[in-house]
């Protein structure tokens, strides 16, 4: 009832604005205030009217609506943009941006928004901000139109295009115009040119746009359209290959990270360390604790949290590793079965300890801003977090290699593993070398945990999901050889990612395991087998 009368009021408003063109713009406020009581369908209609008003003053209100910051006051049903202030809200006038005083939390109600409305808002905002004086906003607006083409925006884009001077923005607007032309009722020639523009633009989004009009396009253009679709698809296929290799490297680098600590404790020292995964888990929890402290005490340092967490995780897990070696493992050298059982027990103890302290639920580890989002390289998307993890795992690998080959500690370590008695008679304190080697392997697993916390769950079970893969990589690559671990991890990653699209993730994983079993049958010592005396030691 009230809604009907409100609607009549808008209609009257609209008619007025048409009747009296000297009032260049109607007041959009009643339209915005009507959102207070509208359901999703009515809100969509209102948004259409707001967008049609062409009044750029509504942009902040639309933005707030999409973000869920638009509220109405219960006492008078007026709509405001609300910002949290203390225990209540600060109300801001949606059109003028001036403050309209404070309101308690229960004095206002949020205006609900759903995906559909967000889409409508995005498209409307695109049209409304095309003429913004800010270059970045114009670029964003052209992008918005590009992503949600609609014939209504065509006039706006053309008007903006006529005034645009910036080259990049202009090119983007041309593309936006092309997608809008396709869904409009323009002439065939214009559409043909539009198809050409979209074809040159390329990419998945363009493919979607072309496909979406293929049912409704004029018969004369069908050939052009199909040719354009085929051209984009064949180009996309090449990029898909490249993307697959990238995914493989990325998965490989995760495997490498998880396995590289084990390459030392198992590979170099020969300890079947079932608690390796828990070291990774402890590293991830160290990251969580570091971030928690930073959030409470110095929130502006958040982007540095991972850098701070690295040494913390290394020291914590290294210390735990040292205690495990001194407390359990040193009594069990030369008895692999008992070592296996004992370290497995240790892993259960560690898991349950973490569960008792932090609870069984996942902990939130945030991604710093430089690890979120993605950037396009040609037709593929590269996510920042994966790229940093690849770089990170490679640098850990190189650092470890240098440590082993160039430092005194590395020399001792290699001496002890190659010939313990000889090393001992040369004056090397072999028990301490053992202890610190194990601590080093554990510490590196902890560092890996810092990185893995960015892409996986931080829960007490984190380690379990990596322990099998880690052993697989080390055994496949060849026990006792760091290069083997690197090549093993990367080739398993790439193999997995090439199998996945064709046979699915489940079967892919099974096939990889079968292939490894066959490979180990043929070459029991892995890809890079140690030769010579070291084998017997």
């Amino acid at each position: 009832m009230t809604l009907k009368s409100l609607l009549q009021a808008f209609l009257a408003c609209l008619i007025l604005s048409f009747a009296a063109p000297s009032f260049a713009q109607s007041d959009p406020r009643p339209l915005i205030d009507a959102l207070a009581k509208a359901d999703f369908n009515e809100a969509e209609k209102l948004l259409g009217q707001i967008a049609a008003s062409g009044d750029a003053r509504v942009v902040p209100a639309l933005n707030a609506f999409a973000e869920g910051d638009l509220y109405f006051r219960k006492s008078d049903n007026l709509v405001f943009i609300a910002k949290t202030a203390g225990s209540g809200f600060e109300l801001i006038d949606p059109l003028t941006g001036t403050s309209a005083g404070q309101a308690a939390k229960n004095a206002v109600t949020k205006i609900k928004v759903n995906n559909n409305l967000r889409r409508v808002i995005r498209s409307a905002m695109g049209g409304l901000t095309l003429l913004s004086p800010d270059r970045a906003v114009r670029l964003q607006a052209a992008d918005a139109v590009l992503r949600s083409p609609s014939p209504e925006n065509l006039d706006l884009v053309e008007a903006a295009l006529a005034k645009e001077t910036d080259k990049e923005v202009k090119a983007r607007m041309e593309e936006a115009r092309a997608v809008s032309v396709l869904s409009s009722d323009r002439s065939i020639d214009e559409k043909r040119a539009a198809i050409e523009t979209i074809k040159n633009l390329g990419g998945r989004n363009s493919l979607g746009i072309l496909n979406s009009v293929s049912g409704s396009i004029d018969a004369g253009l069908k050939g052009d359209l199909d040719a354009a679709i085929a051209a984009i698809e064949s180009e996309q296929q090449l990029w898909d290959m490249a993307q697959n290799v990238w995914y493989g490297l990325s998965l490989g680098s995760v495997l490498l990270l998880a396995a590289i600590g084990l390459a030392i404790t198992f590979g170099v020292m020969g300890i079947i360390n079932m608690a390796h995964g828990e070291m990774v888990m402890l590293g991830a929890y160290s990251t969580f604790v570091v971030q928690d402290v930073i959030r409470d005490n110095a929130p502006n340092l958040f982007d540095w949290s991972l850098a701070i967490a690295l040494p913390v995780a290394f020291l914590v897990t290294g210390a735990v590793g040292l205690v495990i070696e001194r407390g359990v493992i040193r009594f069990l050298y030369g008895r692999p079965l008992e070592t296996l059982l004992a370290t497995w027990g240790v892993s259960l103890i560690l898991q349950q300890t973490i569960r008792s302290i932090f609870g069984p639920t996942n902990q939130e580890v945030g991604n710093p801003s430089w690890m979120s989002g993605s950037f396009p390289v040609g037709g593929m998307t590269i996510t920042w977090n994966r790229m940093w993890i690849i770089l990170f795992s490679m640098s850990i690998f190189v650092a470890l290699l240098v440590l082993l080959k160039k430092s005194a500690f590395g020399l001792n370590m290699r001496a002890v593993t190659q010939n313990r008695r000889m090393a001992s008679s040369m004056g090397i304190r072999t028990p301490w070398v053992d202890a610190f080697t194990f601590a080093l392997g554990s510490g590196i697993a902890g560092i890996a945990g810092v990185a893995l916390s960015q892409i996986d769950n931080v829960s007490p079970n984190l380690g379990q999901s990596y322990i099998i893969d880690s052993f697989m990589v080390v055994v496949f690559g060849g026990v006792g050889n760091l290069w083997g671990t690197l090549v093993g991890a990367l080739s398993l990653g790439v193999l997995n990612k090439f199998l996945e699209p064709s046979v699915g993730a489940v079967l892919g994983k099974i096939l990889v395991l079968v292939l490894i079993i066959l490979f180990i049958q043929k070459r029991p010592r892995g890809l890079f087998a140690l030769k010579g005396r070291a084998v017997e030691a």
Binding site: F40, R118, G208, I209, P360, N362, S459, N461, E500, A505
Partner: protein, 429 residues
């Protein structure tokens, strides 16, 4: 300090439980109920919460004077996420501890493992988690959602209000997603969706590398029709899945994801800002605007002494199951299994979304279906609420089960009555 206090508490509890065991005289004043949830292993992440809820409900009930004038006592056991151990622990609860009813299980595998035990020893299990249906037991009450109380309304919502025409059914490779996707596929095809517009994808448990699948979804979504993902991905694998979606820039406005296993608990480990607008379908959300819910949340936060703890749908299901059992026991005047089984059918209790839930003759309950969109604060905004729906144990969309119904009232007393042949005993148990 707190650790010391906890330790002392644990010591005290041990001493008390041993004295309780030795002093059999106390047994007559209490009614024991069993709590069968994993407190260690992979499922601890989800199930520990339900154990806490049960303890809270028991405490509240005892404050109100218990049941039949006796105090309730919860017997908590830990089946450690190990399916055969569930059956063993269930047997121990029923035969040794003589519990009147058991509240527990999460995964379908654990429920299937204990089902024969409950039927053999004639006890009652309340199962509080959404599941794939295709089962009805005389001794089990399913207070979570059946597929028609969650999956089908969610798909309807996407088709109607978002105009989705192309569907990705993505799930973890085990019985719940497989069966749900089978039902959904049959349902979508009965609505005229072409088979080429449905993509089914399974991943192993705990899958963490979603790059290929997310880019496959992108590819599938660029065919010019509005696309959505229906996710039956199991709890733990969701975090990396959503992270990958966010990082690859898939917005809810472009390809919405509706999930059946993601609730407030799962989102607690996640930065939800890039996920705003993705959906979940449940029968309860913490954001439900009802007085009974506000009280429940307050109680829960006070009980756990943690202001950040969230509530979720299986907690509501546990709450409904417990209230229904209490009411049925009071109506029957005894905790005897057969009498309670008779009296519980038709019992109506308030649910947390402001309405009531009734236990139906098929041992499922009525409840509304809510569709919510993820918000930046990790909560859900309800965008649609249906009237109460009756849980349908045998799906009407699968050829094997469409003729089956279940009715545990006398004289039928059958979990798989075939309406075509008019006989009891079609499929399953």
């Amino acid at each position: 300090m707190t650790f010391k206090a906890k330790f002392a508490g644990a010591l005290l509890a041990t001493v008390m439980s041993t004295t309780a065991l030795s002093g059999a005289f106390a047994a007559d004043d209490t009614i024991k109920i069993g709590v069968l949830h994993s407190l260690s292993g992979t499922m601890a992440i989800s199930e520990t919460t339900l154990k806490d809820v049960m303890l809270m409900l028991v405490e509240e009930q005892n404050k109100k004077g218990g049941v039949l004038g006796k105090k309730l006592e919860a017997v908590v056991v830990d089946p450690a996420s190990d399916w055969p151990l569930f059956a063993e622990k269930a047997r121990q609860l029923i035969s040794q501890d003589k519990v009147a009813a058991v509240f527990g299980c999460w995964t379908s595998s654990s429920r299937k493992s204990v089902l024969p035990v409950f039927e053999e020893l004639n006890s009652i299990l309340f199962y509080p988690v959404q599941y794939e249906g295709e089962e009805s037991s005389r001794n089990i009450f399913y207070t979570g959602a059946a597929p028609n109380q969650q999956a089908i309304p969610a798909v309807d919502y996407l088709a109607e209000s978002e105009g989705v025409q192309r569907w990705v059914l993505a799930g973890t490779d085990y019985v719940y997603p497989q069966t749900t996707n089978k039902i959904l596929k049959a349902y979508l095809m009965s609505k005229g969706v072409a088979e080429s517009d449905i993509m089914v994808n399974y991943t192993p448990f705990g899958h963490s590398d979603w790059q290929t699948i997310v880019s496959d979804i992108k590819k599938f979504g660029s065919a010019g029709k509005k696309t959505a993902v229906v996710s039956t991905i199991n709890g733990d694998a969701n975090v990396p899945f959503y992270k990958e979606l966010g990082n690859q820039g898939i917005k809810a406005e472009d390809i919405p994801v509706v999930a059946f296993s993601v609730g407030e608990e799962e989102l607690a480990g996640l930065d939800t800002k890039p996920l705003v607008g993705h959906l979940a379908a449940w029968n309860y959300f913490q954001s439900v605007d009802a007085e009974v819910n506000a009280d429940f949340i307050k109680e829960w936060k006070a009980f756990t002494k943690n202001d950040k703890r969230v509530t979720n749908d299986p907690m509501e299901a546990a709450y409904i199951g417990f209230s229904a059992w209490v009411k049925a026991v009071e109506a029957a005047g005894t905790t005897d299994t057969d009498k309670v089984l008779d009296s519980i059918i038709g019992v109506s209790v308030p649910n947390l979304s402001g309405g009531t839930s009734t236990v139906m003759p098929n041992h499922h309950i009525t409840k509304p279906v809510l569709i919510g969109e993820i918000q930046a604060d990790g909560q859900f905004e309800i965008v649609q609420e249906t009237p109460a729906v009756v849980g349908d144990e045998w799906s009407d969309y699968l050829p094997d089960s469409k003729n089956l119904i279940s009715d545990w009232r006398k004289p039928m007393s059958c979990g798989n009555f075939n309406v075509a042949s008019g006989k009891c005993g079609g499929k399953g148990s």
